[in-house]
Amino acid sequence: MGRMKFLCDAERCIECNGCVTACKNEHEVPWGVNRRRVVTMNDGVPGERSISVACMHCSDAPCMAVCPTDCFYKTEDGVVLHDKDKCIGCGYCFFACPFGAPQFPNGPAAFGARGKMDKCTFCAGGPEETGSQAEYDKYGSNRLAQGKLPLCAEMCSTKALLAGDANVVADIFRERVLRRGTGAEVWGWDAAYGGGERKQERKREGRS
């Protein structure tokens, strides 16, 4: 198995926040913590684009590099996880992360004013017994051990958010882009779900 990755197709994301809701529900994430969120650029104007963002499980993760307690580790499948028992809630990882993935719960916390850091686990749980209550309480559901992909991607209605082995995800996106076609005439539905190639064929044949 290679590396687990997320990929969000901005042409397809409709800012429904289904991924955010799925994540919060699956892991019973507390108030004030959003492991995943949808970011919209140029909201309300032509050319508006949305993208779903969470931990990108970086190959060379800056959170791992800056952590003073070395509580981060990377699994064989490239998923970046951390041990909450070692986390001191210093917030260095939050400053280092270019995606704002590390989250800190509000209110009374177990350790430090900000509490333990919480972030997307790629639905892979954490360093506790697989499927145990302790794992669920600290890190959330371990869907990967059940042979399932992260729920945010599986729940995505337009399949804008893809998850899985980087090679498989890249193949899916490559095929999508080929069907999509290129040029100014390809936009909206055609760009999202294909059809641009047919338009270009018609254009080449002079049928416009």
Binding site: M1, P68, T69, D70, C71, F72, Y73, T75, E76, D77, L81, H82, D83, D85, K86, A124, G125, G126, P127, E128, E129, T130, G131, N142, L144, A145, Q146, G147, K148, L149, A153, E154, K159, L162, A163, G164, D165, V168, V169, D171, I172, E175, R176, R179
Partner: protein, 78 residues
């Protein structure tokens, strides 16, 4: 005859009791020594170990690959 042996046994029991009591007073290190660049937390089991796959890595990889491919609607309509 048996008195010296009993005495020795009693002494041994008392000594071991004292040693045990002293051990309980020992101090657990309060400061963790972190090693630079080394993961210091608990070890995690791999996803195919335990749970649904019982160590069958190939079955786990196959299940995930199929699931990932299922995300492409073009595969589903063909």
């Amino acid at each position: 005859m048996s008195t010296p042996i009993l005495k020795r046994l009693t002494l041994l029991a008392v000594a071991s009791g004292l040693l045990g009591g002293l051990a309980a007073c020992s101090e657990v290190p309060q400061v963790t020594v972190y090693e630079q660049g080394q993961y210091s937390g608990k070890t995690d089991t791999r996803p195919w170990e335990g749970g649904a796959f019982n160590g069958d890595r190939e079955a786990w990889e196959k299940a995930l690959r199929e699931r990932a491919r299922g995300q492409s609607e073009y595969n589903r309509i063909q």
